[in-house]
Amino acid sequence: MRLFEYMGKQLFIDFGIRVPRGMVCDTPKTAAQIAQRLGGPVMIKAQVLSGKRGKGGGIRLADGPKESKLAAEQLLQSTVQGFPVELLLIEEKLAIEQELYLSLIVDGVSKKPVLIASAQGGMDIENVPEEQIIRQPIDVELGLPTFLARDIVRRLKIVPSSPCGKALTQVVTALYRLFTAIDAELVEINPLAICGDTVYAADAKITVDDASLYRHAHIPTVSELTLGEQEASKLGLSYVDLDGEIGVMANGAGITMATLDMITYFGSKPANFLDIGGGANQEATRKGLELVLAKQPKAVLVNIFGGITRCDEVAQAIVGIRRQYGKSIPMVVRLAGTNQDAGRAILEKEAGIEVFDLMQTAAQRAVELAG
């Protein structure tokens, strides 16, 4: 789950990392009031989950309350990279001397957290040459002690014993404390702004591990899903909207992706990704099919390899849905594994649905029907 910048900055404050003075608002009038109180030029930042916010026009500089009000008005009516702007963060403008990059990420290859830092922070970190990037794997049993943070600062070409170096060292250790405390997959500060002897986190990008949310009740919920996707997630299904013409339901992420690949291979396009998971029962199957049908695809392809999932249960659910929704959308089913013969009998006799043993023939048939 990704957090908005202002939420990330609140967490930074909680862990002793300095951020620019500022407040959030959702009307131009309050934007002006905040700018008044901050005094001087301010940054007006759209609170959206998109990266590339600066390039997308989501960040404005305003001189005083009047300009702030105007900029806020415009931003609140705009979208940034497809995300509607509903909230703004108004901050004091910093006098930045140098911009650094600092992040911590869970790295699957080394099976460790990795600290990434660069003396070249700012907007285009993806284009920073490899040799300018510091990568430090962290031993979780050791953590990120002060000596290691000091050495990271040294490698950033900043004297660790200088006031600024000391402040940076503290930011590095604090960021690791935050990273572990909130079960983050990613915490990123870009830019980390040096202003004299003080260091500010001028931005905050945080992703919290979804599997850990149960033990972080204090972290607010942020949803970036479409309505269909939200519905599915409540049911424990994994659903993604796509823009093709064949509705898809399968069990398991890998086989669902392979099903999409096959549809594409035979010349059509999938309307969605829906993985009902292992051991899906009738209820989950029904709800899943309802989601698929709601998009009015030209055909539906169901691909089930029953391990724990029982094919006859899936078949019952399909028959039920068929009774309820009629037969206007053609449906092709592939059943294999546990109780496949019983499932096939139910579908063919009770609903006249074509059933295939092989995924490939089923996909071909679905493409034919949609064409």
């Binding site: 979780v140 079960d183 294999a336």
Partner: protein
Amino acid sequence: MSILIDEQTSVLVQGITGNQGRFHTQQMLAYGTNVVAGVTPGRCGMEVEGVPVFDTVRAATEEYSIDASVLFTPAAAVKDAALEAMEAGIRTLVIITEHVPVHDCLEIMAYADRIGATIIGPNTYGIVSPGRCKIGIAPSSIFFPGSVGVVARSGTLSYEIVGNLTASGVGQSTVVGIGGDRVVGQSFVDILRLFEADSATSVVVLIGEIGGSAEEEAAPYITQMTKPVVAYIAGQSAPPGKRMGHAGAIIERGRGTYHHKRRALEEAGVRVAELPSQVTGIVQTELSMLHADPFYGLIWSFSRPQQ
């Protein structure tokens, strides 16, 4: 021979009294797996399918010699259960549970690396050595003994491809699910190394998917292997997945896409199937070339045709 497990392997089931634990203990026993004990705190003295249940892993290891443990423990308790098993001396763990917090995995893997334990998973169907031993939740009926090693990230996709192999009479030496999570115990390379050294394996099937860089990490090792590798990668048509901000892009540097993975593997000499249904045909071709080669096993690395 097989890798990781065989008919001698004595198995502990952690979380044996839950629905999944109970059901799959029965399935594993029916397959011939040597399940000797189970653990569920507070359920000491019970039996599940005739298997005695203990309160702690140490209580079980005091009475039985245990080679491997399979975990059906709820996600929130996996870290404790895995550390408990390793601390009690068990050196092979299969973690079936999905949605284990990633920072818990980091701690489990750090401890495992330090003491030299092998972790399969989390979020895996486990390991099957057909006809010998099954640890995990894979449907028993799709496996058949033979000489093809299979390693995969995804569960049902493994079933699909292994089912196809078996239907065509192509048996498997060992089938391993390394797990679908970001942080798992064994990489493709770890398992490929074992297959390379395993005398019962002659061809390896690698089943990958988009995201992460596990397939790319495997490519350099594959160039050193003497055994042919056949691959399928799921997700060719999937929309770009969740990106982990800039840091994700930096770590992966353009890796993780279907085409990047495919190119990396093909450059390493891997034959990559376009569809899962094509894997069997390619494996059969590789097998027939092996059998036709009079020098097979002697100078295989020189006689192997280059793609």
